[in-house]
């Protein structure tokens, strides 16, 4: 796959020619007969076979007759085509031409159905069920088992494998797809075959639930209705659903999903099949995290603050546009814009252009997390417009170095690729971090134990990096001065490929569209006069402001100080930036939100904007790959950010020139990327961080922390089953660190940092000395708000 990509043309591998049903076909060596048959349009029925799982040959549904194995001799028995590789000169007769193959398949199908409950009319899978479909195409109409008075095996049903995944053992045909997925793909072998014979079933160990971030995939690949989700079970029939291909809004993976809706309501989401990106897998958050957009606090109409009562009241769209435009005009450019990281590229572009053309400021920053000028420079020099690393590169690399990135939590599809590559080619994964996580162990990775703050040095000290190495840096490195500079320098020096992996789906698109104080759309540096002129010409405006704007911290400080008088904000948790209510009350605030939030209550104008399901758009994933998707639902209550900003801009008399995502995309394409000189990479020296000099003592500990996949995020609201699969919040530290603090595994401990304290259970983990790990955003235990950020000095002690 990579070879063909590099060469730009299909390279003929060793081809093997065989005859299937009398038709000659040439396929690459090692192709399985079942897939070679697909080449000539013959669909051999199958259950256990899955192209992304190792062959197992368990269900025996795909039996074919092989009168010549390629050596002149035939197989005396029918062969499972899912385990049989092709051979030169092989002759295969499938059910289409061989009575033996046909009878074998009919026989196996009959066997499969004897213990199956045949409850298709009440089964979730009915209508999209491989067993049902293939029983029709390759089975007999009447059951001889039932006719002869056969008694089926029964089980109580369903049983919970996890809070989300339910198992109906009667329907199960024990094809082992789910157990193989868990063992091979996800590396979470919490489900396993137990018992034998007809009693064989999928089981879980007592006290060890099927808690995997990827458990939902087993439901999708189940070829019968044995695995169902608590979220979807008995909710809908497949033939009543309308399916729309889409892209996940939960992370920067760009994973293809399919959104199924019925009567204006999303019923479920499935993994899309995109071999270049997520293959056929998505995380459970991608799959089950869709109920957030239909919570009771969803905004359904614009609101403005009434001049007389001081309360928010419903307003028409035109009135809200007018009030917002008037307020922004009054602020005379003393405006900050915080668009957040969840926007589509089109919406981000509208924000970016709105800032420059309508407000005429560069005070725009999509980052609502720890960030730095160094990071902004890194994004402008190394990330924007870059497509250096792809998923395929991860597979073909010899070594992948993770810095400040925990893929299982922060980019599930990257984690799966790393695991796949490690299993297939022995890819070496090295993590520069503080914790040897379960995710790292599952990719057989090596930890370079590093205290938060010391990443730059650890990366610089790595040896044997070359062009076969890929370095993936996480957004957390923004909190480590010198780390991103070091990453850029190391990549430059060694030829290693470098990519930045952010958390949110809109982060990379916001970089590309210039939602940064020193970066304009298409990678144009604000500081570059030629770039500004180029953009001004494309936009047909006199000029683009040449002063570098305030970053998010700067915007917050200026609001507090009264230097900014207005704020346009969307998709941001004010607590993440430490914005105080007082500052929001003082300023003129325009909020663009899907649901009411901490700041919509304080805003002067509130616009309900559309979630990803209610608009078309594009996410740019961490690779820089453009991932466009269509609208799933028509919802008149909200508008895309593009339309809202266009409305305000037009009222203001400084139109942004488009009103729809499609028009925004067309203009983006026309404006195009900057072809001139790029900003130079940051050169911040290492070790300038405050914690860099903190010595590891029992009292001088450093906090390591990141957001786990399932946390307190509002985009997970509304699915209690999904929430129940989150990992419990615990503080992790090495046995020595815990002993130093007088703690033992399982104790409750109080973690104290610059923001305050939190009390959680502690557990012994493989954590670097002098480091304590705690989840940044666990439900009810948001360490980032209650204690501090990664890299902060903390203390730990027994809970009172």
């Amino acid at each position: 796959m990579t070879a063909t990509q590099d060469a730009g043309a299909v390279v003929k591998s060793d081809e093997v020619t065989l005859t299937i049903d009398g038709i000659q076909v040439s396929v690459p060596k090692d192709t399985l007969v079942i897939r070679a048959a697909e080449e000539i349009g013959v669909q051999i029925p199958r259950f256990c076979d899955h192209p992304l799982l190792e062959p197992v040959g368990a269900c025996r549904q795909c039996l074919v007759d092989v009168p010549d194995a390629g050596n002149g001799r035939g197989f005396p028995k029918p062969q499972a085509s899912c385990t049989l590789p092709v051979a030169e000169g092989m002759v295969v007769n499938t059910q289409a031409t061989s009575p033996v193959a046909d009878k074998s398949q009919q026989g196996v199908m009959e066997f499969l159905l004897i213990n199956h409950p045949l409850d298709c009319p009440v089964c979730d899978k009915g209508g999209e069920c491989p067993l049902q479909n293939q029983a029709m195409s390759n089975g007999r109409g009447e059951s001889r088992f039932a006719e002869s008075g056969g008694v089926k095996r029964t089980f109580p049903k369903p049983i919970n494998l996890s809070p989300q995944v339910l198992l109906d053992r009667e329907r199960c045909i024990v094809c082992q797809r789910c157990t193989r997925f868990s063992a091979e793909i996800a590396g979470d072998p919490f489900i396993e075959l137990i018992e034998r014979g007809a009693q064989q079933q999928i089981g879980i160990a007592e006290g060890a639930e099927f808690l995997s971030y990827f458990s939902g995939n087993t439901i999708q690949i189940c070829p019968v209705g044995a695995l169902t989700s608590a979220a979807y079970r008995f909710r809908s029939r497949p033939f009543d659903l309308v399916s729309t291909p889409s892209i996940t809004e939960h992370d920067a993976s760009g994973s293809a999903i399919r959104v199924d809706h019925r009567r204006g309501k999303v019923m479920r989401r499935l993994a899309g099949n995109d071999p270049l990106v997520n293959e056929e897998w998505i995380t459970d958050k991608d799959r089950f995290g869709f109920t957030w957009a239909r919570q009771d606090d969803r905004l359904t109409h614009p609101q403005v603050r009434d001049e007389d009562t001081g309360e928010l009241r419903a307003a028409s769209w035109p009135e809200a546009f007018a009030v917002a435009a008037r307020g922004l005009k009054k602020a005379k450019g003393k405006v900050g814009l915080l668009p957040g990281g969840r926007l589509t590229a089109e919406d981000a572009y509208a924000w970016s252009k709105f800032a420059r053309v309508t407000v005429r400021t560069n005070n725009i920053d999509f980052r609502s997390r720890p960030h730095s000028a160094e990071e902004a420079a890194f994004l402008a020099s190394t990330v924007v417009l870059s497509t250096t690393v792809t998923y395929a590169d991860l597979e073909s690399a010899k070594r992948v170095v993770l810095v400040g990135l925990e893929p299982e939590d922060e980019a599930g599809s990257i984690f799966l690729r790393l695991r796949k590559a490690n299993r297939a080619t022995g890819l070496e994964v090295v993590s520069i971090g503080a914790v040897n996580t379960r995710g790292l162990r599952k990719v057989n990775g090596t930890l370079v134990p590093t205290r938060p703050g010391d990443e730059a040095k650890a990366l610089t000290d790595l040896t044997d990096l070359d062009s076969s190495t890929v370095i993936l840096v996480g957004e957390r490195l923004a909190g480590v001065p010198g780390a991103l500079s070091a990453a850029a320098a190391v990549a430059q020096r060694t030829g290693a490929k470098l990519a930045w992996v952010p958390r949110r789906a809109g982060d990379r698109g916001a970089v590309e569209t210039g939602c940064l104080p020193a970066l304009l759309p298409g990678g144009r540096p604000v500081a570059d006069a030629a770039a500004r002129v180029d953009l001004a010409a494309a936009w047909d405006v006199e000029q683009v402001a040449d002063a570098e704007g305030l970053d998010a911290h700067g915007i917050v400080a200026a609001l507090e100080a009264g230097d900014l008088e207005a704020l346009v904000i969307g998709g941001v948790d004010p607590a993440d930036l430490g914005i105080r209510k007082k500052a929001l009350k003082k300023a003129f605030v325009v909020a663009l939100e899907v649901r009411s939030s901490a700041y919509t209550e304080l805003a002067d104008v509130v616009f309900p904007v559309a979630p990803a399901s209610d608009k078309a758009g594009t996410f740019v994933n961490w690779e820089g790959r453009v991932r466009s998707f269509g609208k799933v639902l028509d919802n008149p209550h909200s508008l895309p950010d593009v339309r809202v900003l266009a409305g305000i801009a037009e009222e203001r008399g400084r139109a942004i020139g488009f009103r729809t995502p499609e028009a925004a995309w067309a203009e983006m394409t026309q404006v195009g990327p900057w072809t001139g000189a790029r900003a130079s990479a940051p050169e911040v020296s290492t070790g300038s961080h405050s914690t860099g000099s903190v010595q590891a003592t029992s009292t001088g500990l450093v906090l390591a922390s990141w957001k786990q996949l399932l946390d307190d995020g509002r985009l997970q609201d509304g699915d209690p089953h999904l929430a129940a699969t989150a990992r419990p919040a615990v503080i992790l530290a090495s046995a020595a660190t815990l002993a130093g603090a007088g703690l033992a595994d399982g104790d409750r401990a109080t973690l104290t940092g610059p923001l305050g304290s939190i009390t959680l259970p502690v557990a012994v983990g493989e954590v670097a000395d002098g480091v304590v790990w705690a989840p940044a955003s666990a439900p009810g235990a948001s360490v980032r708000h209650a204690v501090g950020a990664a890299g902060d000095a903390v203390t730990i002690g027994g809970a009172k």
Partner: protein, 438 residues
């Protein structure tokens, strides 16, 4: 010639010392002379000797043992392993367990010579878990051999190291299937593996592995001690040597009879004192329940791989279960089928679901319910299992059914006509009273 078949056609080699006082002790067995002789040979010469002897696998399939050994890729840098399949579970088969009980040292010595030949430094004996006494006896024999210097480092100054692990199974018939056995040995669920790769290339712990039956390995010392020619002088053209024939059922003196391959059942019954007094042979299995039944008309079939094959069955493990005319074949077949249903590992559909259905159809027939068409249904079910299942367990499950319908269709129909079994089950028991109707 160590045996003198002057008065008998029997050739006791493995069974020769079974009657000796404490035959299982090293002191009674000897000093491992064959192993010492083997250490004086090149490993490849040992393989050649076993090849030349014509020894074929005694576990049922009859694959030439020496050839199997020669498949081990000696240029593979991974360790080589010898695994002895002592998971004797086939209904009717009872040769390995008494052999290990009475003469465990011949097995240990065989393991030493065989491991030396394939250059394995670790060997495993996988013994059926239910036979705890046998496991203990083999463990004791291994310990004795170790203490006597027959095992361990630099055995008898040969520079060759070997350790034997005695492993207890966990009660699954399927683990007698060699790849399922390997799975079990590795600590996993006992289900057969996909082949290729074959165990000779990637077996135990993905390393080259030879898996042999107890009797095959136990035959090796005598071949080394007495020469390939001695061994191949016994038996028939393509089935050389001797084997243990286990007679059970309605015979006067059931037991293990060690004789050259090619002996007939007529001769064996004669040696065993004839059938149960006053009764005559009705049907029999040549090699356990997984081999198709034969009848009295097959009494003169030479019991070697070819002869039994020509008669439409398989030599298998030479587990000769003899049934006289008091036995209801339908009942016997149902019992066997229930066994296969109980022991099906569940991996593949035809065996898992097929045995579930077969027992239901058969038990209805046994109770005289159903119709003559159900016999065709049974045969068709068997046709859909035979050759369609993942391993040979499914195939074996069909053998008693198809062969019994072939020879005793009328008896099945009699069940339907009489609305139940025409036999008195008590008449076939050892406690049958004289009055029980035949």
């Amino acid at each position: 010639m160590t045996t003198a078949p002057n008065q008998s056609v029997l050739t006791p080699v493995l069974t020769k010392n079974w009657g000796d006082e404490q035959s299982w002790k090293l002191s009674a067995y000897g000093d491992y002379a064959a192993a010492k002789k083997a250490f004086g040979m090149q490993p490849d010469d040992v393989i050649t000797a076993v090849k030349d002897s014509g020894l074929r696998g005694r576990g049922g399939a009859g694959f030439p043992t020496g050839m199997k050994w020669s498949f081990i890729p000696q240029d593979n840098p991974k360790p080589k392993y010898l695994v002895v399949n002592a998971d004797e579970s086939e209904p009717g088969t009872c040769k390995d367990i008494p052999l290990m009980m009475a003469n465990p040292h011949v097995l240990v010595e065989g393991v030493i010579i065989s491991s030396y030949a394939i250059r394995a430094n670790k060997a495993f004996i996988y013994i059926r878990g239910e036979v705890l006494h046998v496991i203990r006896r083999v463990q004791a024999a291994v310990a004795e051999a170790h203490a006597a210097g027959h095992l361990g480092k630099d055995i008898h100054g040969s520079g060759y190291d070997l350790d034997i692990v005695v492993h207890a199974g966990a009660g699954a018939y399927i683990c007698g299937e060699e790849t399922a056995l390997l799975e079990g040995l590795e600590g996993r669920r006992g289900q057969p593996r996909l082949r290729p790769p074959f165990p000779a290339v990637a077996g135990l712990y993905a390393s080259p592995t030879v898996i042999n039956n107890v009797e095959s390995i136990a035959s090796v010392p005598s071949i080394i001690a007495n020469g390939a020619d001695w061994f191949s002088s016994m038996g028939t053209e393509k089935s050389k040597g001797f084997g243990i024939f286990s007679l059970s059922g309605h015979v006067a003196k059931p037991g293990q009879y060690e004789a050259p391959l090619g002996i007939t059942l007529r001769k064996l019954i004669e040696l065993a004192g004839g059938m149960r007094a006053g009764h005559e042979l009705k049907f029999w299995t040549p090699g356990g329940s997984s081999t198709p039944l034969l009848t009295a008309e097959h009494l003169d079939v030479p019991l070697d791989f070819e002869g039994v094959g020509e008669a439409g069955s398989m030599l298998g493990t030479r587990a000769l279960q003899l049934f006289d005319e008091t036995t209801c074949v339908v009942r016997a077949v149902l019992r066997w089928t229930e066994f296969y249903k109980h022991e099906s590992c569940g991996k593949c559909t035809p065996c898992r679901e097929g045995t579930w259905w077969l027992t239901q159809t058969l038990s209805r027939l046994e109770q005289g319910q159903g119709s003559a068409e159900d016999l065709d249904l049974l045969v068709d079910q068997c046709d859909n299992i035979l050759g369609r299942s993942f391993c040979a367990l499914g195939d074996g499950a069909t053998s008693p059914i198809t062969s019994s319908i072939q020879y005793f269709r009328e008896e099945y129909l009699a069940h339907l006509e009489q609305g139940g079994c025409p036999f008195d089950p008590e008449a076939s028991t050892v406690f049958a009273t004289a009055g029980a109707k035949a």
